[in-house]
Homo-oligomer: 352 residues x 2
DNA sequence: CTGAAAGCGCTTACAG
DNA sequence: CTGAAAGCGCTTACAG
């Protein structure tokens, strides 16, 4: 270990300015309370010494003495900066970076977290978690026990995405898929669609359940009847559409929906002429044969920014008062009308 | 400021295990030197207490006591996580993340650095730079005075990209463009090309100079004669090629080269049938009309990994001994042959 | 208004 | 082999 080169400290500043180290600290932190009132002259002298000696406070010492750090931890359960993960993490990281710059905090990525017992863990022996004032958790899937431990230890953190890995009250900022799903279904119904297929991945995540739930209740209310189809049955879609008289197919997300379209066009069907199509996920950048895919815009940048803001609130609030905060927030995805929902062929006209 | 919830400390572990706090520290850090020899029994007792109490050392205290942190700072002179910057930063960040995971260190992004006096500065009043063991600097353009100060303060850091912003000996890992440029020109000459155009952006960065220098010396040696053309003259390229008899055009980078191709095809010229084309930069993912663009593969992931490894060396080496280290390294870009360099039309045949 | 002192949680000589 | 003590650089009661 190399000898840590000594930096200029408050003590030296104090000597230069001819005051005590305490006074330097007071000036530095603008402590001008009831019991302390430092005359402008002293203050100026100290400030000048600080300037002249290019003093910078040691963050470790500040932290140890109990102050906050302006450092926010970022933990992802998988690599966040690889090309493959950019689709999902890119907008989130972008939103985090911008919000961090605005708030004035640094971002500590816990890239070290080793794989132990088969899963990446936030709590390893040498975790630097405590160095951060709080932590943002990113990832499609999180570990319930770790979320629980964070809650139990009253460590400020916010998860991105609605969580159900634990019964503990996990602070999160997630995405409201229900409202836009209802809107999109209403629009489809208004366009004359009565029978549709919903193609899903069969996952059991909160957002997957949300979307499926909205679809099912639209179906139950008779607004638009759905047949739910697992992704493994995509090849059968042309047949299923014919058999049910469906005039529309909705996919759980854009990528899945692109597979759906491939299956349809392979069977000689044309989109949206023969079948209207939509995805219950981000569709920006997704086009099909010149048509903009109908679906949602998911404001991930804003979600990340909102998560950081919520985290700041938690950090400056005493844990005692956390229950009074609104710590579970949803940002609404917006409907992107696109060009792939068209008026349904009138079934009555078929018979005429 | 909320009351910092108390964490379990070494003192408590010591009480549980019935030893002194010093012993706990010794066990924790595997201090088994000449003067200390802790019997296995004690050691086991302490370890069990640590386990049971889920003790994690306070990184701030460790740091303050003079140990290293396993935290590497990352500073970029512009936002690194925005979609626009992903082209350049993406591969670097990916390489950093992977190397950090392997080495076991966390990455502290100095996203806070505010804009002061018109430029983003690493040294602001509250910089957390000192919290990191060392720092990686990323960016096309850096500030010479800050590089100089880092050198003067003997703070371990490594810049990505060859630097010339200061006369100080800046540790860096950069890219060797000269070797592959020579190779590419040799290949072009071997394919019969004798006259070419080099389209550049007129920048004065080290890598721009390297490329231009290699082009000029090839020209001077008679291997392949070049006319150097600024990017503003791209519209004139068809005329210039005809006037000079050039059979090939090389662009400084792939994006510029794509503009070149647009200009040529707009004039009714075909690539590579009428003119061979290459770029002196990363060409992966760049195709032109079904042809893979000839140029380089720039191993940015490896550059980032090498930078982190060099930084680790600096960190564990006493600054006294830094001069003995090879702190300025170049990784060679590789030639990607592509499909856009074809045999030159034989000028003699023209006359026959 | 200002300073001496205690304490944050750790490491490392230094004595037993 | 093990512990008491000093010190890392800061903040914050607490006395003057």
């Amino acid at each position: 270990m190399p000898s840590k080169p000594r930096r200029v400290t408050q003590r030296e500043i104090a000597q230069i300015a001819g005051v005590s180290q305490t006074t330097v600290s007071m000036v530095l932190n603008d402590r001008d309370g009831t019991n302390v009132r430092i005359p402008e002259a002293t203050r100026a002298r100290v400030k000048q010494a600080i300037e002249q000696a290019t003093y910078v406070a040691d963050p470790a010492a500040r932290r140890l003495a109990g102050l906050d750090n302006q450092i926010v931890g970022v933990f992802t359960y998988e690599p966040a900066l690889s090309p493959e993960s950019m689709d999902f993490y890119g907008p989130l990281l972008n939103g985090l970076e911008r919000a961090a710059e605005r708030i004035g905090c640094d971002l500590l990525f816990f890239t070290s977290s080793p794989v132990e017992d088969g899963t990446r863990s936030l709590f390893h022996r040498r975790t630097r978690l405590r160095l951060a004032d709080g932590c943002i958790l990113l990832g499609q899937q999180m570990v319930g026990s770790e979320l629980g431990r964070l809650v139990a230890e009253q460590f400020p953190f916010v998860a991105v995405g609605r969580r159900d890995e634990t019964t503990a009250a996990v602070p999160y900022v997630g995405i409201d898929y229900v409202t836009p799903t209802n809107e999109l279904i209403a629009a489809a119904a208004a366009a004359g669609h009565q029978q549709a297929l919903y193609v899903h991945r069969g996952r059991d995540s909160p957002t997957a359940r949300d979307r499926r739930g909205a679809v099912e209740s639209a179906s139950a209310s008779g607004q638009l009847s759905f047949l739910l189809v697992g992704e493994e049955r995509i090849p059968e879609l042309p047949r299923l559409a014919r058999a049910t008289g469906a005039t529309m197919i909705i996919g759980e997300d854009a990528f899945l929906t692109e597979d759906v379209i491939l299956s349809l066009t392979a069977a000689g069907l044309s989109v949206p002429a023969d079948l209207s199509i939509a995805a219950l996920g981000e569709v920006r950048g997704h086009r099909t044969d010149g048509h903009a895919l109908a679906g949602f815009h998911v404001p991930r940048e804003q979600v990340a920014a909102a998560a950081l803001e919520l985290l700041q609130q938690l950090i400056i609030t005493d844990p005692q008062s956390w229950p009074g905060l609104d710590t579970q927030r949803l940002m609404r995805a917006e409907v992107e009308p696109g060009d792939t929902i068209v008026t349904a062929p009138n079934p009555d006209q078929d018979g005429s």
